[in-house]
C-alpha cells in the first residue's frame, strides 16, 4: 500500500485487521514524513523508539485477533499531556527538562487500546494563544498557503502543532485540548475535524491545567468517523479527576448513520457579527442549506448573552490560570533562575517566573491575579461567574424548545499570516475565539468540520454545538454535514 501516512484511522484499522498492512509499516511511514517536515515545526519531541516498540506490540495483538479500534494507529500527542519519561513542557520554558513520572489518563487509555505515540506536538505556551506564536519551541506552520503565495500562515492555536501534523499527514490523528476554541479553531484553519466533548466527558488528569472549569481534551482527525472512533477511546470515568462524569460511553461510530431527518438545527442570530467577511456568511448559509436538504428543520434562535462571552472568558480563564500556574515556583520541577548573592525565596520565585513564562502567559497570570485581588473579586470575578450562568441558561432555553444542534461559523476568518497580528492589541487576537468560547463557558460539546475554501484557496470550517452528553448525535449531524459538503481538498506539499 502506498502513502500509508495519508490513511484515516478507519481505513488503517480495516487494513490492519485484514492483514494488508502492519502497524510497523504505518509507523515507519509516519516517522519518515515527520523526519522531512521540519519546516512545519509541528513535532517538537520525537519518540521513534517508543513508537516502534508500541507498533510491534500492536502487531502482535492484532495477530492474536482481539484488537480495539485504535490498536496500531500512529498518533501525535499535544505537549500539554504528561507522558511518562518523555518531555512534557506545555511549550513553556518553565517546564524545560520536565519528564513526568506518570502518564495522563487520556494517553494511558489510548496506549492501553494499542495506539502508537510518534512524538509530542507544538502548541501555544500553556495553551494560551490562538496562533501557536506563544510557543517556547517557535511557531508551528500551517501546511496550507494562499494561492500563489509563499507567506507562512498560522495553523491556529493553541493546538497548532496537532492541526498542522494531521493536515500534513504526519500522523493519522492527534490529541488536542480546548479551553476557548483550541481544538476547533486550528481544525478550521487547517481543513481537518476537531471535537471538544462535553465538560467532564474526558479526564483532565495528567493534562497540564490552564483553566480547570473550561479545559477539555478531544481528538483532531482527518474526518468525522475518525473523530468518533478516537473520542470513544479517550472518554470515560476517571476517579482521579473529580469532575469526570460517571456515565457510560456509547459506541459513537455506530451512531453515524448520516440520517438527520426530523432533527432541528438552530441558527443563532447573535453570531452574525458586524464586519463578518462575506465568505464566512456564505459558508454558513451554504451549510444551513445542506442540513436542510438532508431533512433537518432549520429554526432561527437567539442566544442573547453571546456578546459577553469573550469578556467573561477573559476574566474566568486568567483567574483560574493565575491559580493553576502558581505551582511553577522553581522548587518542584522545571526551571529555576540563577540567584544572586543574598537572594531569598521571594527573589527565587520572581526571577524564575519572569524567566520561565513567556509574555502572554505573564500577562494572563497577572490579569487573573488582579481580578481575584481584594476589592476587585466581586466586581470582576463574581460578576463574570454570574454572566457565565446567563450564557449557559441561553443554551438551556434553546435546547428546551427542541433544538438538537446549533450551526455557526467556526472562526471569523481563514488562517492569517504568522506575525500579522503581532502589532495588534491582545483583544484582536482574542476575537479569534468569538464563536467557540461560548461552548466552553456552557460546558457543551462542539465540533468543527471543514466545509469549503475561501477565494485564496484556504480551508474554512463550520461549528456544530450539541446538547450536553449527546456527542453521538452531534457527530452524526457533523457526519451528514461532512457528506453534503464533500470537502476533500489537501494542501499542496511544499515542506
Amino acid at each position: 500500500m502506498a502513502d500509508l501516512n495519508k490513511l484515516t484511522i478507519a481505513a488503517a484499522r480495516d487494513a490492519l485487521r485484514k492483514g494488508d498492512v502492519s502497524s510497523a509499516e504505518l509507523t515507519e511511514a509516519c516517522l519518515g514524513e515527520i523526519e522531512s517536515a521540519g519546516a512545519l515545526n509541528a513535532f517538537v519531541h520525537n519518540t521513534p523508539e517508543i513508537a516502534r516498540a508500541q507498533a510491534a506490540a500492536a502487531d502482535a495483538r492484532i495477530k492474536a485477533g482481539d484488537a480495539p479500534d485504535m490498536c496500531g494507529i500512529p498518533l501525535g500527542i499535544k505537549d500539554l499531556f504528561c507522558t511518562k519519561g518523555v518531555p512534557s513542557q506545555a511549550a513553556s520554558n518553565i517546564l524545560k527538562g520536565f519528564k513526568p513520572e506518570y502518564e495522563s489518563t487520556v494517553t494511558s487509555q489510548l496506549f492501553d487500546a494499542g495506539a502508537v505515540m510518534l512524538g509530542k506536538l507544538n502548541m501555544d505556551e500553556f495553551a494560551m494563544g490562538s496562533s501557536n506564536e506563544t510557543s517556547a519551541y517557535g511557531n508551528a506552520v500551517n501546511p496550507w498557503r494562499r494561492d500563489g503565495s509563499e507567506a507562512a500562515l498560522t495553523p491556529g492555536g493553541s493546538s497548532g502543532g496537532s492541526a498542522s501534523a494531521v493536515a500534513a499527514d504526519l500522523c493519522l490523528a492527534a490529541t488536542g485540548t480546548d479551553t476557548g476554541g483550541s481544538i476547533r479553531q486550528p481544525a478550521a484553519f487547517t481543513g481537518i475535524t476537531g471535537i471538544k466533548p462535553t465538560y467532564g466527558r474526558v479526564s483532565r488528569w495528567g493534562v497540564v491545567a490552564f483553566a480547570s472549569s473550561l479545559d477539555q481534551a478531544g481528538p483532531m482527525t482527518k474526518d468525522v468517523r475518525d473523530a468518533a472512533i478516537m473520542l470513544e477511546a479517550m472518554c470515560g470515568h476517571d476517579a482521579k479527576d473529580s469532575t469526570s462524569a460517571d456515565l457510560a460511553v456509547p459506541n459513537f461510530e455506530a451512531m453515524l448513520t448520516g440520517d438527520i431527518r426530523g432533527k432541528t438545527i438552530g441558527i443563532p442570530r447573535e453570531y452574525r457579527m458586524d464586519g463578518m467577511p462575506e465568505e464566512i456568511e456564505k459558508l454558513w448559509a451554504e451549510g444551513t442549506e445542506m442540513l436542510k436538504a438532508a431533512g433537518a428543520k432549520i429554526v432561527d434562535i437567539s442566544l442573547p448573552h453571546t456578546k459577553y462571552a469573550l469578556p467573561t472568558y477573559y476574566v474566568i480563564a486568567p483567574a483560574e490560570a493565575s491559580s493553576n500556574l502558581a505551582r511553577y515556583d522553581g522548587v518542584r520541577y522545571g526551571h529555576r533562575a540563577k540567584l544572586a548573592a543574598g537572594d531569598g525565596i521571594t527573589e527565587m520565585y520572581e526571577k524564575t517566573r519572569a524567566e520561565g513564562f513567556g509574555h502572554e502567559v505573564q500577562r494572563r497570570v497577572m490579569v487573573g491575579t488582579y481580578v481575584l485581588s481584594a476589592g476587585f473579586y466581586d466586581a470582576y470575578y463574581n460578576r463574570a461567574r454570574k454572566v457565565r450562568t446567563l450564557i449557559k441558561r441561553d443554551f438551556e432555553e434553546v435546547f428546551a424548545t427542541g433544538v438538537d444542534a446549533i450551526l455557526t461559523p467556526a472562526t471569523p476568518s481563514a488562517a492569517f499570516g504568522l506575525g500579522e497580528m503581532s502589532e495588534a492589541d491582545p483583544i484582536a487576537m482574542y476575537l479569534n475565539d468569538v464563536f467557540t468560547v461560548t461552548v466552553n463557558l456552557a460546558g457543551l460539546p462542539g465540533i468543527a468540520v471543514p466545509t469549503g475554501t475561501d477565494s485564496q484557496g484556504l480551508p474554512l470550517g463550520l461549528q456544530l454545538i450539541g446538547r450536553p452528553w449527546e456527542e453521538g448525535d452531534l457527530l452524526n449531524t457533523a457526519y451528514a454535514l461532512e457528506q453534503a459538503a464533500g470537502f476533500v481538498a489537501k494542501p499542496a506539499k511544499w515542506w
Binding site: 520536565f98 467532564g200 472549569s213 469532575t243 520541577y333 531569598g344 517566573r353 519572569a354 490579569v367 466586581a379
Partner: protein, 95 residues
C-alpha cells in the same frame, strides 16, 4: 478604572513575577486594554443570578478516607531543580 504603574507593580508582586521598572508603564497599558474589554460586563443585569460554581450539575464525589498512595519520594523529587537528602532545597527562608 485605570491602572497606573504602581498598581501594575503591585499586581506583578502579588503574582510573584519580576517586572523591571522600565517595563511597568507598558504593562499598565496592556492591563488597561484587557480591563477595558472586560468592563462590558458591567452592562449585564445580574440581579438575582447565582455565580456559576460547576458547569455541569454534579456532586463532588466522595471517597473512603484511607491512604491510597504514597512511598514515592524518589519519583516526587526526580524533577526538582535542587533536591538534597530527600528534600526539596530552597534558599534560606528564615534567618
Amino acid at each position: 478604572m485605570s491602572i497606573d504603574k504602581d498598581t501594575a507593580a503591585k499586581v506583578a508582586k502579588l503574582a510573584r513575577i519580576r517586572v523591571e521598572a522600565a517595563d511597568l508603564p507598558a504593562l499598565a497599558e496592556e492591563f488597561n486594554a484587557v480591563l477595558g474589554f472586560i468592563e462590558q460586563l458591567s452592562e449585564v443585569d445580574v440581579e438575582g443570578v447565582e455565580p456559576m460554581v460547576s458547569v455541569t450539575p454534579m456532586r463532588l464525589p466522595r471517597r473512603v478516607d484511607v491512604v491510597s498512595d504514597g512511598g514515592q519520594q524518589a519519583k516526587v523529587l526526580a524533577n526538582a531543580p535542587d533536591a538534597r537528602e530527600g528534600f526539596f532545597a530552597v534558599p534560606k527562608v528564615v534567618e
